[in-house]
Symmetry: C2
Subunit: 314 residues, 2 copies
């Protein structure tokens, strides 16, 4: 198989219990790699490195295999699959974690099947920063490597987070995590601290306010698509990253313009993710629907400049 | 004087004490009408209806008169000028009010000098809703009337707020106030509740996340301009409204495209306001600087659509 646009993702596969004001589900598919893969596989083939317990029914992810997700790197070991429970109030920007049962994920050690190391697009989800580097160091000169992280690692393994940031091309991170990492309320300044470590771009995820991409000489704002009700925000960030990486992998266009489009495609995928529970909306999402929404994104922010004097009534 | 593009604004003139992480000032110029006027007068003549006490040195607002702000409607009465003190933490989205001394503003009753009632553009700042209607009912068929409001009135005089909403063309309101008013976390749904009362547009102000304009068939997002540090957010919303109304008054263009441009001009003015304390930045802001920033706004959100297959590498 051609290695030209393969995407490697390393992170969790999980079961989720989710409660929102609109309903509740138990033991549905979740975890960073599944949301990421469901999004990225709309554009390019994906390889997953993760772990589940023997309780995990692999047939539930067959629909992802059918669209080009390779689970050869998914270890199945004795024990239970990572299981997370969370609740969202009407303010869907804050998550209340009800329980976290790490199970086999606690001792997860990524191992890379043959060929995975040649993947040109690498996404390191929010696993321990030392494991992120271990994976990255096995990769043979990827075209683009992107890391995510989380509050836990910034608080407990900050040096590790910094070390990984030094090695990757881009960082995908929540707004509150930028502030925590950089010790400043200014997201712009915080992102610059990260750019100073080496990455060429920082993708700051702002939940219902969308996302911004900050590079040394560019600042791009993608609003969140205005959905009347966010049904379940779980996975929005990971499917954003999946859409972003997927678009880059498919087009190979790493120009500023190409990256802007990738951000919009990521935002468009995320806007579908939150319309239903779990992976439900991504399961049958078509590229046609996605392209249509990208057009709607454009309409959201478009305005024509006009010299005031010319427009002025006589 | 031609009545074609006169803007009438009714609201407060105040002294402010402000503390931010970057410094503190005492008894500086503030209040909704001054921020509004400083912004709107960059585009069109403004008439102010407000009240101050005898302690207020009128020479401090001469710079506004010099650029076309008419203070014939500013009552000067026995007592003290409205005096407000507030503090912003590093999280500049939340304001801690340190004191509010209403002074002569407590018994403010707007009176309209000759000719004011013919103003075609009317902005009702966040005064009591009954007073807003009293002013509006004196106006002779304005082309555009816009109201603002605040939590206090939504909580204590909700029916009055609803009645005023029924009469105006547009509502300018903070995101948290939309949610409070509509009893829903969905800003989109909340704005629709307001549109159902009659207004043709709702301008939802989101602080550091910018603003959205929602109409029956349009949704427009204007991001906040990315300043490294918001020096002092006081007055951002009022100068946004001033820039918005000013642009509409100057161009007379009430099409969807014209309204979108007005939102961007309002956002651009607000982005300057927060760079310094009080009206300091608006004092010497030029139309040239403003036009340049509008161009930068465009660059913030611009992306070119492209059919993916065409961009794909061979």
């Amino acid at each position: 198989m051609s290695q030209e646009n393969q995407i490697l993702v390393v992170g969790s596969v999980a079961y989720d219990d989710v409660e929102t004001p609109f309903g509740a589900v138990k033991r549905v598919l979740g975890g960073t790699t599944l949301y990421f893969s469901a999004a990225a596989s709309l554009f390019a083939p994906v390889r997953v490195v993760s772990v589940v317990g023997r309780d995990f029914p692999l047939d539930q992810i067959r629909f992802l295999e059918d669209r080009g997700v390779d689970f050869a790197g998914l270890q199945v070991t004795e024990g239970e699959t990572f299981y997370w429970g969370g609740r969202y109030d009407y303010d869907l920007n804050s998550t209340e974690t009800l329980f976290t049962k790490l199970g086999v994920y606690e001792s997860f050690h990524p191992t890379m099947p043959e060929g995975y190391a040649e993947s040109p697009f690498v996404f390191l989800a929010n696993i321990q920063p030392d494991l992120q580097r271990e994976v990255l160091q096995q990769c043979r000169n990827p075209r683009i490597s992107v890391m995510d992280t989380m509050n836990l690692w910034i608080n407990t393994q900050r040096e590790g987070v910094v070390e990984t940031m030094r090695l990757v091309d881009m960082v995908s991170i929540n707004e509150s995590e930028v502030r925590l990492f950089a010790g400043t309320s200014s997201v712009v300044k915080g992102a610059r601290q990260i750019l100073d470590l080496g990455p060429r771009a920082v993708l700051v995820k702002k939940g219902e306010y969308g996302c911004v991409m900050i590079t040394r000489d560019d600042y791009f704002v993608a609003p969140a698509f205005p959905v009347e009700d966010v049904f379940d925000p779980t996975g929005a960030g990971d499917s954003f990253a999946g859409g972003f990486m997927g678009y880059l992998a498919r087009t190979g266009d790493l120009t500023a313009a190409g990256m802007r489009r990738a951000v919009i495609y990521g935002s468009a995928v995320a806007s579908f993710t939150v319309e239903r529970f779990s992976l439900d909306r991504l399961r049958d999402l078509t590229r046609e629907e996605l392209d249509r929404r990208v057009g709607e994104f454009r309409r959201l922010v478009q305005f024509e400049e006009e010299v005031i004097e010319a427009a002025q009534r006589k």
